[in-house]
Symmetry: C2
Subunit: 358 residues, 2 copies
């Protein structure tokens, strides 16, 4: 725990998106059972991943000052994370969303073994030594049954507070193949965090493959919108009324216009989706949350506050730093406007405390 | 011209999106030269089109009251269009965006011949008999050179006021293969209208193929966003500083948040796109226009006006009915708020008059 007072934050904060990293590609080997370990050492994981990653290198997406003195990669050194993030910014609780091999592996059985290993690693090397941290269950989400099995395996450990899914998927996330995962998450009251990233069978935008990383990065919003649309119109929330979804690192200023657009379309086309008992926006407000980083920042503070007001409620937005990634948001400089109270407290702490039952 | 006074509009209006239809699949045959006519009658056009169309049938996307007494399909009967749209709503100028075979045909030479035939048909059967109507140049847009040739062929006829491109394309529209088309359009001062529709090589959303038409319909906004991003970051507006783009039937409430998102990303990643001399939003405001139908409608009038104010300028939004399609917007009932003046006049008439030089 912190020995010194936080230097940049007086009030306690919940950080809903921290990325811890594997120290090396071999770390998971010791958490794998024998046949999988052999395979891991012989071949390693094949994923279809294209797009979403900062192109320079695996850890090239990190803040340049986030390389620990230990020589480990950014995000892989817990003492340094304590110093640089948890202590400095008075992070009361921080949720780990590790990007590890497993979820994107095309052989889903091997992927499931890697996810089990990653969750064991999370417990042993992060949650056990640091009580401020909470974990996301890493699951092989392209197979709903295998993902559900991993959720069942972790649900007893209250330090796992959500399930981690990437937003670029093989099929829209409302599809039935993903439903066993939702059923398990609902049963245990675990939100599903849909974090930007992953890969698709097709191009990473609806217009095709893009030339620049900046287009890929801006495109995080578009794929997240497509997933919101799919979850709502497939009737996932009618089938799983206790399901909660957190949209992580996909932006959020676009969500009110998307709610308006879906409601207007539903007003004219509801005969196609008779399984929906409420307007689309009602499902969004009841079942979805968003995290702040990276923010769409309008040129004026009042416009930012209007955008937050367009949500029509104050419980949905939760603060995140995205530590240690290059576009990190510091709690004290992240917002383009001074947040009025109690909205500020809700975004920085209370909304996450309520959702995750801290 | 109208013999009677308009019944539902006192002030003149410009309608920037009207869909006239071919009376039958054989209509274009008489406008095709001999070898193409033979092929057209033997085989017809093969397109890769999937998604975007109202699924019931080709004209199943029409208002049920838009079937003319003549027995022709909706949008194919000019006298009935005069009565039901131009006269009734005091449409001073209406821009035709016909969906015809040609642009989506996989054999681009044959597609180019069909586009030429369609433009001849537009002149002979629509622009010649009705002076209130203006035409969009139909082009085989997947081939920049062939598209440029068709633009050259039509540019002398001032009744063609823009070039028609669909938003679902084989590659993002910023790519160089499309540049000859932009060069020709810029040379002749013709805006490019990017109208929702078309087909892609990949799935129609960044999350994959969707189950419902309502998701496809909501997805119009996502693919339009991807195209805006591509056009801006590929540097199209630096290369063609006179180019103008009209985003038709893709919605518009999402555009301010997208400008904010692009500006923020550019602030951190501009080294990847050194060819951009200005923030992304500056290109959008200088080079892009949007049409109103279908609108994202917030639950309150003030929120709608705030959204319009978030554009940061008043010249970009232009009214459209989308006649005769099922989600038609009547000028007197389209808006969820009473528009203040002069913004109302600008949206209903003046912005389009300025852009199209009426």
């Amino acid at each position: 725990m912190a020995a010194t007072a936080p230097t940049r934050a007086k009030t306690a904060i919940v950080d809903t998106d921290i990325h811890n990293e594997l120290p090396s590609a071999q770390t998971l080997a010791k958490y794998l059972t024998a046949p999988w370990r052999q395979r891991h050492e012989l071949l390693g994981a094949r994923s279809g991943k294209r797009g979403a990653g900062y192109p320079r290198s695996v850890t090239g997406n990190a803040r340049t000052d986030s390389w620990p003195p230990s020589g480990l990669p950014p995000g892989a050194d817990l003492p340094f994370m304590r110093e640089q993030l948890l202590d400095r910014f008075n992070i009361e609780h921080g949720i780990l969303n590790p990007f590890v091999p497993g979820p994107g592996v095309l052989d889903v059985e091997y992927g499931a073994a890697l996810c089990r290993a990653a969750n064991d690693w999370l417990v042993a090397e992060w949650l056990d030594p640091e009580p401020r941290l909470r974990g996301s269950v890493v699951v092989p989400f392209e197979d709903g049954e295998l993902a559900a099995e991993e959720i069942e395996r972790r649900a007893r450990d209250g330090r796992f507070v959500q399930v981690l899914v990437m937003t670029r998927t093989n099929e829209p996330l409302g599809r039935r193949k993903y439903w066993p995962m939702y059923q398990a998450a609902e049963r245990h009251g675990l939100p599903i965090a849909m974090h930007f990233g992953g890969s698709t069978y097709g191009p990473i935008t609806a217009a095709g493959w893009v030339s620049h990383y900046i287009e890929d990065h801006v495109g995080a919003a578009q794929v997240t919108q497509s997933q919101v649309t799919s979850l709502v119109f497939e009737g996932v929330f009618e089938r799983f009324p206790g399901l909660k979804i957190v949209l992580t690192e996909g932006g959020f200023a676009w969500l009110p216009p998307l709610m308006w657009r879906m409601d207007r379309a539903w007003g004219k086309l509801r005969a196609e989706v008779p399984h929906l008992g409420q307007p689309p926006s009602a499902y969004v407000r009841k079942h979805m949350w968003v995290t702040t980083q990276p923010m769409e920042e309008p040129p004026s503070g009042p416009q930012f506050l209007q955008t937050l007001a367009h949500f029509g409620c104050e419980h949905m937005v939760m603060f995140a730093t995205d530590y240690p990634h290059w576009d990190f948001d510091a709690p004290d400089t992240a917002f383009p406007a001074r947040l009025p109270e109690p909205l500020g407290r809700k975004i920085m702490r209370e909304n996450a405390r309520a959702l995750y039952r801290f």
